[in-house]
């Protein structure tokens, strides 16, 4: 799909009433907001595709693998995730046997399962629930 107008979309799905055609316009506005389509001129749109944003967890795991030996501060600086989020995930990974803490600040990757971030979804979900119930607010980052 290249450049198109709202009318072209409405015609393609056989919408004739004004209210229905108006709904198409509103939907297109939502698509523009989330960056999936681009408004290139008045009434003219271009499809860009939806880019899947990487989660903080994936970014942290990528950094852990590229550093091998690191501090939580380094991972925090390069991932943009909040320190508690980083520590929570590092401790999760330690529990799975992928990481070892070598002193007060330094961590080491001791088992590398590959580029896909290992995640215990049940545990992460539980931690999320605990945060929610404890009323902990986070300004950055997140495990999902």
């Amino acid at each position: 799909m290249g450049v198109f107008t709202p009318s072209a979309i409405a015609n393609a799905v056989a919408l004739e009433r004004y209210s229905q055609r108006k709904q198409v316009k509103n939907m297109l506005r939502d698509f523009v907001k989330r960056g999936e389509i681009e408004r290139i001129a008045t009434g003219l749109y271009k499809y860009r595709g939806l880019t899947v944003k990487r989660t903080k967890l994936e970014v942290v795991w990528h950094l852990v693998r590229s550093h091998r030996t690191f501090t939580a501060a380094e991972i925090e600086r390069l991932s943009g995730a909040a320190r508690p989020t980083v520590l929570e995930y590092l401790n999760c990974l330690k529990g799975f046997g992928y990481l070892r803490k070598i002193d007060k600040y330094h961590w080491r990757l001791v088992k590398d399962p590959g580029p896909d971030a290992p995640v215990n979804t049940a545990k992460c979900k539980r931690l999320k629930e605990i945060r929610k119930t404890a009323g902990v607010t986070r300004t950055q980052g997140g495990l999902s």
């Binding site: 990487r54 970014v59 990528h62 590229s66 600086r77 390069l78 943009g80 590959g114 580029p115």
Partner: protein, 238 residues
């Protein structure tokens, strides 16, 4: 690490910006072999930039090893590209990488410490870049430039060579503003840059010291006297 004086954030220096600009250009230049080389002396932030952008963009990051043979390199690349199981011989490894990259042509490969790669392994990378047309970023010290220039076939396929230079006065001003919330004048930035001789670690140390002196002396703005005292302490090795 910085106490609470400096924010723990990745500040994009001119070098980091050059890195991402070149990589984005390479991503757009589809359909042709895309080799890029990023070089500079140790401590210029090449590896940090490579790790940061690889993690943020989801690029495949692989670190070269001193003892890398062609097979070892191909097997490491297979592992990073999620080829499972990793083949035990060169030909199936090579074919598996080509198949994986043809399946996912949006892959970008960042090879750190590439100056350690042998000439024969560099030829293998050239073949992979030729066949698959995905961008390959080779990051290393100056030796990588010599190795690539020596082989005309490799150098002619190099889309861009980006040198990581010493930190600039603009970087100092930007870092001071972003990490410490300090608004320095251009002259003050230049002075700090000259004192650090282009070393980013020294700039971080100096900015932290400026902040400490400001807090201790109750100054709200970093005046020339504060800068002078901070740099003087730095020279004494405090």
């Amino acid at each position: 690490m910085n106490g609470n004086l400096l924010k723990n954030i990745f500040v994009q220096t001119q070098n980091a910006k050059s890195f991402i600009t070149a990589m984005k250009e390479a991503e757009r230049a589809a359909g042709e072999p895309r080799l890029l080389v990023f070089w500079g002396q140790a401590g210029r932030g090449k590896t940090t930039a490579a790790r940061f952008f690889s993690a943020q963009e989801g690029w495949t990051y692989c670190r070269a090893k001193t003892l890398w043979s062609e097979l070892w390199m191909l097997q490491d690349l297979c592992f990073e590209l999620k080829v499972d199981p990793v083949p035990k011989r060169k030909k199936p490894c090579f074919e598996a990488i080509v198949a994986r990259l043809e399946d996912d042509p949006d892959t970008v490969i960042v090879l750190d410490e590439a100056d350690k790669v042998s000439a024969s392994a560099l030829e293998v990378i050239r073949d992979l870049a030729d066949i698959t047309c995905v961008p390959w970023a080779l990051v290393g010290e100056k030796l990588i430039m010599h190795k690539m220039k020596r082989e005309r076939r490799i150098w002619s396929r190099t889309l861009k060579a980006v040198g990581f230079g010493p930190i600039s006065a603009v970087d100092v001003l930007y870092f001071a503003k972003e990490a410490a919330g300090l608004k320095l004048s251009a002259a003050q930035g230049k002075r700090i840059e000259e004192a650090a001789e282009g070393d980013f670690r020294l700039v971080v140390r100096d900015i932290r010291r400026i902040k400490e002196i400001m807090i201790a002396s109750g100054h709200n703005d970093p005046n020339d006297d504060v800068i002078k005292r901070a740099l003087a302490q730095g020279l004494r090795g405090n």
